[in-house]
C-alpha cells in the first residue's frame, strides 16, 4: 500500500516555488494551516498567487505572507477580515480577484474535476461580473466562472492515516476536499 511521506514543516515550505499558485484550505481562519503558512513566509518565496476564502488575519496565517510581501495576487471571497489586505488591494500592492464564496468553492472543485468552467447567476449584473463572459440561460443572466487549479495546496485536517487518507472535522471539510483535488 502507498505510504505518504511525512516531512517537517520546514521541509514542506521549501517545496514551493516563487510565482506559483497556492490554494489554501480551511474556512477563513477556522482550521487554517497556520504553521505551514508561517514556515512558507520564512523562505525566500515571492510573487505567489494565493487562493482562499480570505488572506488570514493581520500577521496570522496568510496574513504573514501578505505582510512580508510574498503575495502578488489573491483570489478569494472575503478579505474584510484582514484590513491589511484591503489596504494592499487599494494601494495596488497586490492584485485581488473577488468571487462569491460559492463560486470560489465551485471554481476550485471544477479545477480538480477537470471541468472547463460553469455558469452561475451569482454576481451577474454586479461589478464583480465586469469583464466576465455572460449568457442568458432559461431567462436568467449567468456568469461564466473559470476553474481554478493550483501549483500546490495546503490544507489542515484533523487526522490522517499513513496512506494519506484525511479525516477533516468542523469547517475543515468545507473547502479542503476541493482544495486537495485542485492541485493533484
Amino acid at each position: 500500500m502507498r505510504r505518504v511521506p511525512q516531512i517537517s514543516i520546514a521541509e514542506a515550505a521549501r517545496l514551493f516555488r516563487s510565482g506559483g499558485k497556492l490554494i489554501v484550505g480551511g474556512f477563513g481562519m477556522s482550521r487554517h494551516p497556520v504553521p505551514l503558512l508561517h514556515a512558507l513566509a520564512e523562505t525566500q518565496i515571492r510573487d505567489l498567487t494565493y487562493v482562499g476564502i480570505n488572506v488570514g488575519e493581520p500577521g496570522l496565517g496568510g496574513g504573514v505572507l501578505l505582510r512580508s510581501g510574498r503575495l502578488e495576487r489573491a483570489i478569494g471571497s472575503c478579505f474584510t477580515g484582514n484590513a491589511e489586505a484591503l489596504r494592499a488591494a487599494q494601494s495596488g500592492d497586490i492584485e485581488v480577484e473577488l468571487l462569491p464564496q460559492g463560486s470560489l468553492g465551485e471554481a476550485i472543485r471544477a479545477g480538480g474535476a477537470g471541468i472547463g468552467g460553469f455558469f452561475t447567476p451569482a454576481s451577474a449584473g454586479t461589478p464583480l461580473a465586469d469583464g466576465m463572459e455572460t449568457r442568458l440561460v432559461d431567462g436568467h443572466q449567468m456568469v461564466l466562472v473559470r476553474p481554478i487549479r493550483g501549483d500546490g495546496s495546503l490544507i489542515r485536517a484533523w487526522k490522517a492515516d499513513t496512506a494519506g487518507n484525511l479525516h477533516c472535522r468542523m469547517p475543515e471539510s468545507n473547502f479542503n476536499q476541493a482544495a486537495a483535488r485542485a492541485s493533484a
Binding site: 517545496l15 505551514l36 487518507n165 493533484a184
Partner: protein, 53 residues
C-alpha cells in the same frame, strides 16, 4: 498537496465513511499538533477593528 494534520494513525484506523480526501491526492503529510498552532488573538483583533474604524 500538503496536508497538515494533528495526528497520523495506522491504515485501517479511520472508518471509510470518515475519509474526506483520499490519500491519492496527498503528496506529503506534516504533523502539527494543536499545541503548535497559534490561534488568533481575539483581543488583538478587537483592537485592530477598533483602530481601523
Amino acid at each position: 498537496m500538503i496536508a497538515e494534520v494533528e495526528d497520523i494513525v495506522p491504515v485501517g484506523e479511520l472508518a471509510p465513511k470518515t475519509i474526506h480526501a483520499p490519500g491519492r491526492f496527498v503528496d506529503y503529510l506534516v504533523l502539527a499538533r494543536p499545541e503548535t498552532v497559534r490561534q488568533p488573538d481575539r483581543q488583538a483583533m478587537k483592537r485592530h477593528w477598533t483602530d481601523s474604524g
